[in-house]
């Protein structure tokens, strides 16, 4: 996952939040439903019981009451009802603990006009009360009921019921809270079971990206993630197969080039010997034949060089090129290279008197000769070779005053058989020189780069470690 501004990062956190929310909401809903049902049952029971009790008490005392009632009668009725009660008849009232003013109008209206016991819950000063009101009716022997004008009211404290309900609610909330840690544990387990295959798959993909084409994830179970794992494994398998095929083909091609150049050596050696004989006898030939013979000799030399370069490249490709490091004076090596090829007069050397370093003399000689040869051939004089060094880097620069390297060429000068100027194909070089030069630099653990001088002209920079070390023999690549 990339980092973002959201609060819920990662699959695990999201799974956890969703799981816990669902579980706690479910538990809370169930607990709440239970609490509400219990509350309603409690309230209904208390209401029913109060209505029945008060109705029963009034019924029990009613036959002994005078009609029309005097104050004493009303008081007796009020006492019979018990608790906080109020009895009203026309202008007369008998009250204890219950004031007519607190009775809601709708309750009074229901009692006055009706023939039923009615109840109403009210909250006064934070305390819940159950109000019970009933008219007292007169029944004729034939069953006809007429209001007697007596109204009875009673108030019952619901604080006890309230306490019971509060207890129920607390327990419901506690139940929901108990579920919370359980939900977290389950969510973590679920997240792990989902995330472990994902993590395995990620690790496998990373190893594949790093080049370990043999990396696979064992698929577990038969879910979508297992499908995905199988697919990734199949993909990795086909990539591995094609890569192996490509490597085999590449190795075959290199081996073929090596074999070809090797096979060409023997006939070429013979041809070279023949050419040397021919070279000694050209004076006896007429002019046309001599020119033809000289051309054949030159081309044979070129062919020999090409085969030698090809074999050198093959050794680099096969990893069999060996570095023979020795103590040497870099300045002396460069000067010897120029002197041996007769270039001392054409090349300026900027170098300290002595520059001790460790490198492979032969290979550095090849590199410098190639670079200077190119400069003389393609660039314009003066050609300059600069040698300098820091504590651990040796730097050899070859520059000329020619037109420099076009931008589209710089990236390709080290490619094999790359010719910058198509018109000058027969320049005498094998087309492998720069490629071999760079391989030599890299064999030392250094590098060779191509560029242009600020003042025009190409500039090649060879950097080598001052103390090159012989690398451990490379494993033969398949």
């Amino acid at each position: 996952m990339t980092d973002g501004p959201g609060r819920f990062r990662g699959l695990r956190a999201r799974l956890l939040v969703a799981f816990v929310l669902v579980t706690v909401l479910g538990a809370a809903a169930a607990a709440w439903t239970g609490a509400v049902l219990a509350r309603n049952a409690l309230l209904e029971e208390s209401r029913r019981q109060a209505a029945t009790t008060i109705g029963g008490r009034v019924t029990a005392v009613a036959p002994t009451l005078d009609l029309p009632p005097d104050q004493v009668t009303l008081d007796r009725l009020r006492d019979a009802v018990g608790g906080r009660a109020l009895v009203v008849h026309e202008n007369r009232t008998s009250a204890r603990g219950l004031d007519a003013g607190v009775l809601p109008d709708e309750l009074r209206a229901a009692v006055r006009g009706g023939d039923r016991i009615v109840t109403q819950r009210v909250v006064a000063d934070g305390t819940p009360w159950l109000l019970v009101g009933t008219p007292l009716v007169t029944t004729a022997p034939d069953g006809a009921r007429t209001p007697s004008g007596i109204e009875v009211y009673a108030a019952r404290d619901l604080a006890d019921v309230q306490r019971q309900i509060d207890g129920l609610t607390t327990r419901a909330l506690a139940t929901a809270a108990i579920v919370l840690p359980l939900a977290i544990v389950l969510a973590l387990l679920a997240a792990r079971s989902v995330l472990r295959p994902v993590r395995d798959l990620r690790d496998t993909a990373r190893r594949l990206a790093d080049g370990d084409l043999g990396a696979r994830s064992p698929p577990r179970g038969s879910d979508e993630l297992a499908d995905l794992t199988l697919t990734v494994n199949r993909m990795a398998g086909s990539v591995q197969t094609s890569m192996e095929a490509m490597r085999r083909m590449e190795a075959d091609a290199r081996r073929f080039a090596a074999d070809v150049s090797h096979e060409l050596r023997t006939p070429l050696a013979t041809l070279t010997a023949v050419m040397e004989v021919l070279d000694g006898a050209t004076d006896d030939l007429d002019r046309d034949a001599r020119e033809a013979a000289e051309l054949a000799i030159a081309e044979t030399h070129r062919l020999v060089r090409l085969v030698e370069d090809l074999m050198e490249v093959s050794r680099f490709d096969a990893g069999t090129a060996r570095l023979r490091v020795e103590d040497a004076d870099a300045t002396a090596v460069v000067r010897e290279t120029l002197r041996a090829r007769g270039w001392t007069d054409q090349v300026r050397v900027d170098a300290p008197e002595h520059l001790p370093a460790r490198f492979d003399r032969r290979r550095i000689d090849v590199v410098v000769a190639n670079l200077v040869g190119n400069a003389l051939r393609h660039g314009r004089q003066p050609v300059r070779v600069g040698v300098c060094a820091s504590a651990d880097t040796l730097r050899i620069e070859v520059s000329d005053r020619g037109p420099g390297l076009p931008d589209d060429v710089i990236g390709h000068v080290f490619d094999r058989f790359y010719k910058a100027d198509a018109a000058r194909v027969r320049s005498g070089g094998s087309g492998l020189g720069l490629a071999i030069a760079r391989e030599n630099a890299r064999l030392h653990g250094g590098d060779l780069t191509a560029g242009n001088d600020d003042g025009g002209g190409a500039r090649f920079v060879l950097t080598l470690p001052r103390q090159a070390r012989e690398p451990a023999p490379r494993e033969e690549e398949t």
Partner: protein, 177 residues
């Protein structure tokens, strides 16, 4: 990632859902006020006096309210009935020996009356008077009109049906209807 906008709400609407749940939960506790709720039939039982039944000129039952100021018990009403009436237009089918104390017991849907009378003291109409007076008081006190009455006499003739449970032809019509 293209789901950056969605990352903030992995479970859409979760926060409102929690708020609603908490609000509902809080509303669920405590005792809420209510409207007016019916609680059954109103109590009854007050009356200016008991209703007694005598026999009219044509042998029919005639109700007469004794203005005692209160309904009283079945026993009270029967005592008044046994005492008789001074209305010259009415007569009674009961010959009382002076004792007016009546025992009343309730046995389920039946009221048993223990009268200090022998069967020869009471005409069949007199039995109706007794049953109707008892039932009238019972109904006026809030009892059911379907209640049956057993009139138990001190002496009964063999084969008499005086002790059978009986109703009253004129009481509780309105209630039965």
């Amino acid at each position: 990632m293209s789901d950056g906008a969605r990352r903030g709400t992995p479970v859409p609407g979760a926060v409102p859902a929690v708020l609603v749940a908490v609000a509902v939960l809080l509303a669920g506790c405590g005792v809420p006020p209510s409207g007016v709720i019916d609680g059954g039939r109103a109590p009854t039982g007050v009356a200016p006096g008991p209703t007694l039944y005598f026999v009219g000129p044509d042998g029919e039952l005639v109700a007469q309210t004794r203005d005692t100021g209160r309904l009283g018990t079945i026993s009270d009403a029967l005592a008044l009935l046994l005492t008789g009436t001074q209305d010259p237009a009415l007569r009674t089918g009961i010959t009382s020996g002076g004792t007016t104390r009546v025992g009343v017991t309730h046995d389920g849907d039946t009221i048993e009356l223990h009268l200090p009378l022998a069967e020869y003291d009471v005409t069949p109409r007199g039995l109706d008077q007794i049953a109707c007076t008892a039932l009238a008081t019972h109904v006026q006190a809030g009892g059911s009109a379907d209640t049956r009455v057993r009139v138990l006499l001190t002496v009964t003739e063999p084969g008499s049906d005086a002790g059978e449970p009986r109703g009253c032809p004129v009481v509780g019509r309105a209630a039965v209807r």
